[in-house]
């Protein structure tokens, strides 16, 4: 699988052609780290496509890290499947306790961070920096939400139980923290640990007025009732819900 030959989207070629050798060099660093590095060097769009290629190329050896930038374990050692032997039920309950909302002045929506995923304050701060470095950044595979007419970018958000605007994707799809959402967001069926392209498409098409009647998307539709796509530029006008000028963790 060669990065230059994959023709998933037209932007791939332009992204690849604009790069010098060092930037295309594939490394075996933790996928999160390499992705954010690439983001800083380029704009959002190219970063997404390149990181997708990188991930595909490495997918033989890497495990499925969630697509969202947040919440990735920064521990160096790979997790062994099913070890330690803790039931999924218990693991999910443990996970749901450690998410906190983080707001940054200037960002209209909040991010959710899994405290458990970071070994200490230093790692947490680094992760927060990366999350808020460019608040329009979303690493959705092949998904750049651009209005074809005027070129404005959209980010998918939703309003949660507390009335906060949250960016979609921080919390793995299957997490049992239904208390934080207006509806049941649990994905249907097998081990979906992150939003994948199909579910996101289902969610977005609901907003555009198409109704997905398949059972698989029922939960997604209900979940998205109070959601909207915000134009990145318009989103700046929304007052943040936290005191300005500081990062607040709730």
């Amino acid at each position: 699988m060669s990065t230059t030959e994959t023709g998933n989207s037209s932007t791939t070629e332009s992204a690849v052609s604009g790069l010098d050798y060092e930037e295309t060099q594939l490394t075996l660093a933790a996928s999160g780290a390499s992705r954010s590095e690439l983001e800083r060097k380029r704009g959002f769009s190219e970063g997404v496509d390149l990181s997708l290629e990188t991930k595909d190329f490495l997918s033989g050896s890497s495990d499925e890290a969630p697509i969202s930038g947040a919440g990735e374990p920064s521990a160096a050692k790979a997790q062994v499947v099913g070890w330690p032997p803790v039931r999924s039920f218990r693991r999910n309950v443990l996970k749901s306790c450690t998410y906190v909302k983080v707001a940054v002045d200037g960002t209209p929506y909040l991010r959710k961070v899994d405290l458990e995923a970071h070994a200490g304050y230093q790692q947490l701060l680094t992760a927060l920096e990366e999350m808020f470095s460019c608040f329009t950044a979303r690493n959705y595979p092949n998904e750049r939400l651009v209005d074809p007419v005027n070129g404005t970018e959209y980010v998918p958000t939703y309003e949660d139980k507390d009335g906060d605007w949250m960016l979609i994707g921080d919390v793995p799809w299957k997490v049992r923290s239904s208390s934080n959402f207006t509806g049941n967001i649990k994905g249907f069926g097998s081990h979906v640990e992150a939003i994948n392209k199909e579910e996101l498409e289902g969610a977005i098409s609901t907003i555009h007025g198409k109704h997905h009647s398949t059972e698989n998307n029922l939960d997604v539709c209900r979940f998205m009732q109070t959601a909207s796509l915000m134009k990145s530029s318009e989103a700046v006008d929304l007052a943040p819900r936290t005191p300005t000028g500081c990062i607040t963790a709730r």
Binding site: A75, V81, G82, P85, S88, V93, N184, K186, S190
Partner: protein
């Protein structure tokens, strides 16, 4: 038996049936059924409780035919390692075949308990429709159904006594399923909905439990806010077992005192669980009932050590304690001092993947408990370090262990003081604990520990092994010893073909064997399957790349292997990743 038939005819059938009614245990009834044809005939007509440890071991129709008067059935599906995502999600364990056969042949069925099975809403609807006298539904670690299915049960099972949902994955698509319990439903004794994720209509629940005077067990899910717990308890002061909902709220002295008095009003409370999101604020509200508690499950509460100690020191009559490792050694020392009647302890990891600060829960806590609690017989303990000396002490203190499961979270961890394998420690356990029925190993272990287990663990029924052993000898010791072994599950051990083939006959005396990430080849599995027609040899290959299994060479490594005895032959519902060798 010489003259067996003659003496069996000495008494009329009714007398023998009456005699058999004093044999509740399946093993005894099975033995009686083998004595002679008359007893076989009599016993089968009088058996009303059936336990099927492996849903694929027998055809549902055959089981139903043999025991026509069954009122209570318990069936298990997937292998235990399915709990840890080692079994593909489409492997099997579907309940339809059983439910359909039971609907056909056991219309008077009253109790159904399913564990690790895939139960669809259709199954639940069939149960609700076909069993007119249905009283008990218990689903443990099941999946495939939704609250719509539960609505059908609620609506149609007029005499429902127990709805016990334990750690299932339930799709939430019918928000008001509980409203389907008719006003005439007053028979509930157990209602356990702790695993449901969705919102629960607490007013409906209040009315339901208000009209069920015999309700003894109520376990709520985390959506039930603390404020509403007060109202629920007022309507069910006779509760014996309570699982709280969310055990956190804005601190409010009025709420605290209302909660405190509501709980104190439950004079029969023996068991407490739930405590989702519990913090220290509202824990003291349960102090008044602590003395009467025999069972306490705090394993979902991230409460720190000092608070736990304050709470548990009051529970002088505790028999069962489930807690997170946040209790630390200090907390366990306090438990050892206060809970002299403790029989079962489970300590779960608050942070299994090691990203947070280390917790001071070590071998010292386990030793303290073993020394202070003379009635302790069942332990599940997750920790990060262990020594042989500690295990030797535990073994000496607790010769009555029936269940010992130790999980040292990092694989291959040696004795951290001597750097030796933990063979000596675990050997001491099996040699001292003559009644040990269940054992889980961990840490650095060589074949020596298996030699001890094979030789000493005569009552052992279930053994779990991970990241242990040096080679074939380890598995051979187990399979050639352990007279009563029923279930063996192994992962990531260097065990190969030879011990399997050398001990093929043993496998027919066991319920099942699971091996994953070991060194077994396809050729050995083929040989085993040919040699042992009463075994299903399932090879699980999830990768789906390359040649189909039939064309793979004998030396092809087998990633996952599940072998079980069966009189039903190969099952017909295998997914594409499972091959049954013949």
């Amino acid at each position: 038996m010489v003259g067996g038939f003659r003496w069996a005819a000495m008494f009329p059938d009714e007398v023998w049936e009456h005699v058999f009614s004093f044999l509740p245990a399946d093993a005894d009834r099975n033995a009686a059924a083998l004595v002679c044809r008359a007893w076989y005939r009599l016993e089968r007509r009088s058996r009303w409780r059936v336990f099927v440890g492996n849903c694929y071991a027998v055809e549902p129709a055959a089981a139903v035919r043999r025991f026509p008067e069954v009122r209570a059935a318990a069936i298990k599906g997937k292998p235990h390692f399915a709990d840890f995502n080692l079994v593909p999600s489409d492997w099997g364990g579907g309940a339809e075949a059983w439910v359909e056969a039971m609907a056909e042949g056991w219309p008077h069925l009253e109790e159904l308990r399913l564990k690790r099975m895939v139960v669809s809403d259709d199954c639940l609807e069939l149960i609700a429709r076909c069993f007119k006298n249905f009283k008990v539904l218990s689903l443990v670690s099941c999946e495939g159904f939704s609250t719509a299915g539960l609505a059908a049960i609620a609506a149609n099972c007029r005499y429902l006594r127990e709805l016990d949902l334990h750690e299932n994955e339930v799709e939430d698509n019918c928000l008001h399923w509980m409203s389907h319990f008719p006003e005439s439903c007053t028979s509930l004794v157990t209602l356990n909905i702790a695993c449901l994720e969705g919102e629960v209509n607490v007013s409906v629940l209040e009315r339901l439990i208000g009209r069920c005077p015999n309700l003894k067990t109520l376990r709520l899910n985390h959506s039930v806010p603390l404020e509403r717990l007060v109202g629920l308890l007022h309507r069910a002061p006779q509760l014996v077992d309570l699982g709280t909902g969310k055990y956190a709220a804005q601190h409010h002295p009025e709420l605290f005192s209302r909660l405190e008095s509501a709980i104190a009003g439950c004079k029969n409370l023996k068991g407490l669980s739930g405590f989702w999101e519990a913090g220290p604020t509202f824990l003291p509200a349960i102090y008044s009932v602590c003395e009467g508690l025999t069972s306490l499950n705090l394993s979902y509460a991230t409460i720190q050590g000092p608070e736990l100690i304050k709470l548990i020191s009051r529970c002088k009559n505790l028999q069962r304690l489930w807690v997170m490792d946040l209790i630390e050694d200090e907390g366990l020392i306090a438990v050892a001092a206060s809970c002299k009647l403790l029989q079962e302890l489970r300590v779960f990891p608050s942070d299994p993947y090691g990203a947070a600060q280390p917790i001071s829960l070590t071998e010292h806590g386990l030793v303290a408990i073993s020394a202070g609690c003379p009635m302790l017989h069942s332990v599940l303990y997750f920790c990060r370090q262990m020594t042989n000396a500690a295990l030797l002490t535990v073994a000496k203190n607790c010769p009555n262990f029936t269940c010992f499961r130790l999980c040292i979270m990092e694989p291959h961890t040696p004795d951290y003081i001597t750097r030796q394998p933990l063979d000596a420690g675990f050997s001491a356990i099996v040699e001292s604990c003559k009644h040990l029925r269940r054992l889980s190993l961990s840490g650095l272990l060589t074949d020596l520990v298996f030699k001890s287990i094979g030789a000493s663990a005569n009552r052992l029924e279930m053994l779990s092994v991970a990241f242990a052993g040096d080679g074939d000898a380890g598995l051979h010791y187990i399979l050639s010893g352990c007279k009563n072994l029923r279930k063996l599950e192994i992962r990531d051990c260097p065990f190969g073909d030879k011990p399997l083939l050398d001990n093929a006959a043993k496998l027919e005396t066991m319920r099942s064997l699971w091996m994953s990430s070991c060194s077994v080849t396809l050729g050995a599995c083929r040989q085993l399957a040919r040699k042992m027609p009463l075994l299903n040899v399932e090879v699980i290959n999830e990768r789906k790349r390359g040649l189909p299994l039939e064309l793979q060479p004998d030396n092809c490594p087998v990633e996952k292997l599940y072998i079980y005895r069966t009189v039903a032959g190969p099952r017909s519902d295998t997914p594409s990743c499972v091959w049954i060798l013949r």
